[in-house]
Symmetry: C2
Amino acid sequence: MDKLIFILTFVGALLALLFAFAMSRKVLKFSEGTDLMKKISLAIRKGADAYLKRQYKIVLIFFGVMFVVLSVMAIFKLLTPYVPFAFVTGGFFSALSGFIGMKIATLANARTANACRDGLNKGLRIAFSAGSVMGFTVVGLGLLDISVWFFLLKFVFNLSPEGITGAMLTFGMGASSMALFARVGGGIFTKAADVGADLVGKVEAGIPEDDPRNPAVIADNVGDNVGDVAGMGADLYESYVGSIISASALGVAAFHSINAMALPLLLAAVGVVCSIFGTFFVRTKEGATQKQLLSALSRGTNFSAIAIAIIALPLIYFILKDNWTIYFAILAGLVAGVLIGKATEYYTSDGFKPTQNLAATSETGTATIIIGGLSVGMLSTMMPIIIISICVLVAFFVSNGAANAAQGLYGIGLSAVGMLSTLGITLATDAYGPVADNAGGIAQMAGLEEDVRNRTDALDSLGNTTAATGKGFAIGSAALTALALMASYIDKINSIEGGAAKIADLSITNPTVLTGLFIGACLPFVFAAITMNSVGRAAQSVVKEVRRQFKEITGLMDGKAEADYASCVDLCTKASLREMILPTIIAVVVPVIVGLSIGPTGVVGMLAGATASGFLMAIFMSNSGGAWDNAKKYIESGVHGGKGSENHKSAVVGDTVGDPFKDTSGPAINILIKLLSMVSIVFAALVVNFSIL
Amino acid sequence: MDKLIFILTFVGALLALLFAFAMSRKVLKFSEGTDLMKKISLAIRKGADAYLKRQYKIVLIFFGVMFVVLSVMAIFKLLTPYVPFAFVTGGFFSALSGFIGMKIATLANARTANACRDGLNKGLRIAFSAGSVMGFTVVGLGLLDISVWFFLLKFVFNLSPEGITGAMLTFGMGASSMALFARVGGGIFTKAADVGADLVGKVEAGIPEDDPRNPAVIADNVGDNVGDVAGMGADLYESYVGSIISASALGVAAFHSINAMALPLLLAAVGVVCSIFGTFFVRTKEGATQKQLLSALSRGTNFSAIAIAIIALPLIYFILKDNWTIYFAILAGLVAGVLIGKATEYYTSDGFKPTQNLAATSETGTATIIIGGLSVGMLSTMMPIIIISICVLVAFFVSNGAANAAQGLYGIGLSAVGMLSTLGITLATDAYGPVADNAGGIAQMAGLEEDVRNRTDALDSLGNTTAATGKGFAIGSAALTALALMASYIDKINSIEGGAAKIADLSITNPTVLTGLFIGACLPFVFAAITMNSVGRAAQSVVKEVRRQFKEITGLMDGKAEADYASCVDLCTKASLREMILPTIIAVVVPVIVGLSIGPTGVVGMLAGATASGFLMAIFMSNSGGAWDNAKKYIESGVHGGKGSENHKSAVVGDTVGDPFKDTSGPAINILIKLLSMVSIVFAALVVNFSIL
């Protein structure tokens, strides 16, 4: 069995990586188009590369310091010696996922634009293939990391199942830290450039979006790649790996068997195969409507989801025998992911009442559309909370949780794995969005024909809808994984000498649990505030630079002189890298401080509070932002006065407020809640030995 | 001892009511000024009376229905027979507190304006006396209700201490329901009128605030009274009573003695005396600066707080003997209230960096000041969370909680009582604000001299600062009281046959606790969304009516014809009463549904989640609103372009968004979190007998 697990997971990893490689070859075969298009694409690629290089330098310092800290702790027997290395590999693979995803995205943007000159279907295929490279790289590297570590721990160091999952849990912290850097840094970059470009270009100078005269236009396109692609890649790598290893650890705690440990790995490996088959269903005919485009993508994801749902049943029966009802936990996770995506779509798509009504509030001015957008976001938390609550209860009780709580918690962990099992393809449909967005920018800047631009617009607009679904999975799986990690944390404390006594009273009326809950619930608020402020500060510096260039570069507005794009890219890079440090440090330091002051029960309270309030804040901010964005687009389609009207101006303010909401603070909170658990687990022994309470 | 408790509490109640009566006599001795001032004041009074009458009619239906429901439950032995009656008296006294407060406020507004013609000190004295009437009516009626019920239950029905507190807990639900109606209805009224008057009057027609040509101007002033006065009165009545009876119940559970039950009552009675003495310290000299005015008010509250802190020590030693260290729990509550008020002031006063920096963000437009205000509010949750967490831990551990959890919980309950013990005077300084605000409006409308208006402005602006302190107490005590009520709920369930088994596992990893936590944490978000939407809808109807009057009434803008003020008042009344029903029903129905579906453990989770997230949301929304308001005033003082500049317009948008934040949704959440617990307690037996899980 042990070898089978290793082989199957390793094969799954290889399949995913091979498929990603094949897809990238396919993308690269196409032409980048005209010289101007090549030049623009190169500028974007260079900017993105430069950003990542400098980001990695800073991250390297962080990882170096943490490696030393963890090594010292290992020397003092507060950690096993594998932890510092596991931490580094997690970070490395997370970064690599983001890097490869961004690389292919910046190589595919001009090619997608050029392909749209030939037809819609060709454009869709290239953008989607680029998205697939990203999706399958993430799952491939995730499984590779897991299988290699499994091999080492099992066959080289001969650890028990408990030992294996214990060590593996810790590389999640490396992945999470890297993901937070990537999400926060990239999120600040992309929104600072976006807001800066819009405020001066669109509002003050009155030139259209993606106009080459705007000095921040390249920075804006670079931002799409470093934020929406590299950030998302690192983020979902971390979700994927985190959900698998936390479920494995809970499986070992529940059944003390290698089989229960293996199930999440095998599910993931099977999910890779289902996802690969799913990608072949994504194609559309020329002149396809928005609806047909969407159903082309949905066909792929639906096929994969149904396939895994069918295959999982015999797989689980084979592995867990009498406990096969855990199957329904996986099914609950899959269904919950889809439903949260649907709820997100309902609240943020202009095809439904909430966003249409939001657009109507622009009639009475800016204040009312702001109030309206905030309240849409807050209200939209209700359905996802109910869905995730039902999912948790179902997962727990079908897994025999009433009689054996450990098995129930394993069920909750597996539901997260179920939700993410088809990540290869769901991420492909998600990552395809920024590629299409960039293609649109290049088409505009390179002055391509009207109907090419229309095709890229159609692809781009579709990306907004698939992004909603992607967010459903990201947020839902984050909450479930965080709960699973919380359970793993408790197991971890119990396994440490003297830990059991310190964590005996987890009752919610215990004041340390309660105050932990309060502090944890506060963290997403503080985190959102800090990241929003960062975007504000960075955007202001971009605004000043763009204003300066408009004033000082003569002939810029007449198209006779070229803007200094590089200086805006440089500015965004510096600002975002400076601003990403504080949030990450908070996320790493707070669990340790809470643990050392109010003890392990306080930490559990903190994790529960952060998960609940983080889930709510992430949905609230993402959906408010999405609703404002689409309300603006809805007005641009000609209702309520259309483009250029006072109502439209109000909607643009809403959209600008929504930018850091949905693309910086909201997604970063998803990572925060998992990173808090990971850090808590790694520092568990320190806390047990030295906490005050 | 029994009789002593009754007598002292009853005497405390009488003292407070007598003092309130004396203060009202004093206020009424002054003249209302010119005929025009009398006429305006009468119009405001009539509007407010008409609103309350119609509000009470709707509330009466609700109370009637609930009385029948509770009676039926009592017949089926799911409640004791006192409960339906206790429920009604709680509601009645809560309403009466709001009514009397509003009555005196509407009688004092013109008198304050007129007194300001003679001098600042005279104006301050009248406005503060009116505030005192409100403050001492609230505490007087609260203690009266408590002492009369104590008398009945103890000496007429001969109940045990457990029986007494069990029955008394339930009149909290009546008070909370009434408070929620008053806060939500009043909050919607005041902000709909305010936003409506501003959007059309200030922004579209370009006439100043409180201009008599604006048809919504009377409605705006009525709103200050029905929202900020009547709403606040009912709200704090409920906080006061809720904190005392929940602490009493926890005292009985911890010590099984009448002494422990009596302590909160006696503390409250002593607090009344200290507060009365404190009011004599509030006076200032003519031409006092803002700082001197503030220190005049602070002298009063500080004296009362220090007096109660000193007297409480021997009192507790006399009553609890060896357990006298609980004294520090009370002290922790007092200090926490003050500190949260200071933190609120720091984040919302334009004397400090956060609001000054917020004003500066207006330089880059509306979007940045919105983002800035939201992030100030979110960030401002950090200090209060830390303060309340420390307060909870201190209260628990100094009360011997480590050895005996019940005593620790009693300590937490007492810290809330400590925080609210000087409510008489803190509420007086808080309720004084709307009176000064109204006086300013009347001075403007009646065309009084420039320097009179300057004096009312000075008083009004001071009200913003005292309101911040008042909010600190309201939010802090709400969180502590909610925690105490949660503990009371658990005791209640344990006391019901079959209840103990259903609530045995309160561990935070129990999935029913967890899902309850998720649902509870979501409620404040949903609640905020609904109430904000309500304000938006109501404001839109006011906007339309004001626009209609400007168009149809010829000569209105030249001052030749009079506006139809009554129609705006009527519109606000109808809209706010319609909109207040849904939120209250949600607050009453959700705990029952949660209880019946996932059982008592789910309810406890829900209460903890709602308390944590409600505390955060209330602070976030109140402080964002306060910061926007003061950033606007700061710009009006001449910085960043001053009044009328583009920056000022952006700040006005921020202020308008902040209006429902700080005066409708934020304060309503405070009541929500307590009402949820009260409802849960009343329906405990139903849940134990019929819940699914």
